[in-house]
């Protein structure tokens, strides 16, 4: 899967290259052909496309993603500087989305098609219409430009100041979770409604378990597992959204690195960042599937048991 993804990314990038060396120099005037050739050689751009691909892949296995065409930094160090921001943003966003979504879904599912449920469903449909970066711009306008409560752009690492770090991450995280939580709410709600209508809930009520116990212990537990499989999807949404949200808020994460290198035609960086993010996405999906299997005996096949 990852191999296929890497081939696609690489092939597309090499298909019709605007020459990265020329882009870097900005102009061909006053630069001798010799210099251009030397730069090409330096980045291995004079090799065949296949051997470039080979170099890239074999490098990855050694933890070496190559060198940026644009700056002299190694891609590994560029990614290393920035991966923390993206990780923090994604984790905080998904956590925030879950914290918002679970209670809302529970309340909505208690009375399907009641007033609350309909309001929630309408809000969800509105929330899903927000591309995360548009939500980000609107939040920026309200809280930074108008109210001036929070800084608009920039980043302070967690290690430097926890408080300032929080100030910088709260708006991007809210923007991302505003889009992710409707997805969770919808999914969890429909699973909950189904669980609440199932025989085991009637049994529990029959033996006199309190309503709260029935909902939280019996129904919610059963509804969470199927909903868990959708986390992979949520993660993908958040990662995709984070690319532009980082750009809007000027966060130095992998997303803005991808945008910057796309603008500079710095394929060496772009292909590795994209591959890394895809790997993250695929891995999460895998881990979630495995976790669901470990948690839910019903999903195990005979062979596993």
């Amino acid at each position: 899967m990852l191999v296929a993804t890497s081939v696609i990314v690489f092939a597309v990038l090499r298909a019709l290259p605007g020459d990265p060396v020329l882009t870097r120099l900005g102009t061909t005037q006053g630069v001798s052909q010799e210099t251009i050739d030397r730069l090409r050689e330096q980045f291995g751009l004079d090799h065949s496309v296949l051997s470039q691909y080979g170099d890239w892949v074999s490098g990855i296995f050694h933890g070496d993603f190559g060198t940026s065409y644009f700056s002299q930094y190694s891609v590994t160090s560029l990614i290393g500087q920035r991966i923390g921001v993206t990780l923090e943003l994604t984790i905080v966003s998904v956590a925030l989305a879950t914290v918002i979504a679970v209670p809302v879904a529970v309340v909505a599912a208690l009375k399907p098609h009641g007033a609350i449920d309909r309001v929630v469903s309408a809000l969800c449909s509105l929330g899903m219409a927000f591309p995360p970066f548009v939500a980000a711009i609107l939040l920026l306008i309200v809280f930074s430009v108008q109210l001036g409560w929070l800084p608009a752009r920039g980043w302070v690492p967690l290690s430097q100041s926890v408080g300032q770090n929080l100030q910088h991450i709260i708006l991007p995280a809210v923007a991302l979770s505003a889009v992710a939580s409707p997805l969770i709410i919808r999914y969890l709600r429909s699973e909950l409604v189904e669980a609440l209508a199932s025989p085991f809930v009637r049994t529990a009520e029959g033996k006199g378990v309190s309503r709260a116990q029935v909902v939280l212990r019996h129904a919610l537990r059963n509804a969470t597992l199927p909903a868990l499989t959708s986390v992979g999807l949520i993660f993908g949404y958040t990662l995709g959204g984070a690319v532009l949200v980082e750009y809007v808020f000027g966060l130095p994460g992998l997303g803005s690195l991808a945008v910057e290198s796309a603008l500079r035609r710095d394929y060496a960086v772009l292909q590795s960042v994209v591959l890394l993010l895809c790997a993250g996405f695929i891995l999460t999906t895998l881990v979630v599937d495995l976790a669901a299997r470990a948690l839910d005996p019903r999903l195990r096949t005979v062979r596993d048991a």
């Binding site: 591309p131 920026l140 306008i141 430009v145 499989t229 990662l239 690319v243 532009l244 603008l263 394929y267």
Partner: protein, 314 residues
């Protein structure tokens, strides 16, 4: 014979054109029952009467398209500059105010909508052609072809769309045509999955077996039998695709990799507005609202037409 009205279960009699009609008609009872079941499921899910919401959303979308297309007839010239009136507030002459060069924002939003909707439309078309063929061929060939086609769809879908779009656009360059093609290709795998599952569902029906029985060729099976019977689901997918296409175009243009000035789209307007947030924040708000309203209405249409297909990959 009760005539099924829900779009996802087309009328059984009209479906298999030609000789299969009589065969299928005798099974119409099954289809009507299925339609009733679908209708009942819909009613349980939503209390709001479906036609009203659907009608409302399509009307709003229609008005947006009409406004955007007819803009030159009534709105101001989107390129007319008036630097003295830069960053003017809302007024009768300029309902949305003016931008940094004193251009009328209302006219610019409508003008930008034309490219945005054009690209979205083109992308939906590309995704439909490519995705339907992809999915139908996979469904009808099965075996190794199916496996290969669907695995490649999975690999493509594993890349977050926006990243893939960044890669493609920086490789192929950003013209409106390229944008429509790239976005369309990006949306094709999801469409292919949908088309495949819809096709598989239809292929288990009796009219399909009947068509095979009277010796219909492959092309006829795909185009005359499967296609008309899956239009409902494909329409839902088209609405979802249109929404995604608008988001992708806006995202790319916003970071400067999409539509290039002097051409304008909702994405470029957002980008310009973002640069002037502190001077006049309304600049960014109006294109944002245009994008939101359009996507929201498209989502409502998709929901009402038959619920989002489950996109989870369990």
């Amino acid at each position: 014979m009760p005539e099924p009205t829900t779009p996802e279960v087309p009328a059984a009699g009209g479906a298999p054109a030609g000789a299969a009609t009589t065969v299928a008609a005798s099974f119409a009872g099954d289809d009507a029952a299925a339609a009733a079941a679908v209708a009942a499921r819909g009613a349980r899910r939503r209390r709001l009467p479906r036609p009203t919401m659907l009608g409302f959303a399509t009307t709003v979308l229609g008005v947006i398209v009409l406004l955007v297309l007819a803009a030159p007839l009534f709105a101001a010239d989107p390129d007319a500059q008036d630097p003295i009136n830069a960053f003017a507030g809302s007024s009768f002459a300029h309902p949305f105010g003016t931008d940094d060069l004193g251009r009328d924002l209302f006219a610019r939003v409508l003008d930008g909508g034309r490219l945005t909707l054009l690209i979205a439309g083109g992308a939906v078309l590309v995704a439909f052609l490519l995705g339907t063929l992809w999915g139908f061929v996979a469904a009808s060939r099965r075996g190794i072809v199916d496996e290969l086609l669907m695995r490649s769809a999975d690999a493509l879908m594993a890349i977050p769309q926006i990243l893939f779009a960044l890669v493609c656009i920086s490789a192929f360059g950003a013209s409106p045509l390229n944008l429509a093609l790239v976005v369309g290709v990006l949306l094709a795998p999801t469409t292919a999955r949908m088309a495949r599952s819809a096709a598989l569902q239809e292929m288990s029906r009796d009219y399909y077996a009947a068509a095979i029985a009277y010796g219909a060729r492959q092309r006829r099976l795909l185009v005359r039998e499967l296609l008309p019977n899956t239009t409902g689901q494909l329409a839902v997918q088209a609405a979802i695709n249109a929404a995604s296409a608008i988001i992708l175009e806006a995202s790319l243009s916003f970071v400067g990799l999409g539509i290039q000035p002097p051409d304008a789209s909702w994405g470029t307007l957002l980008k310009e507005g973002y640069a002037f947030l502190y001077q006049r924040y309304e600049y960014a708000v109006f294109p944002a609202l245009a994008i939101l309203l359009t996507i929201w209405m498209l989502n409502v249409v998709a929901d009402q037409l038959g619920g989002r297909p489950k996109r989870g990959r369990a």
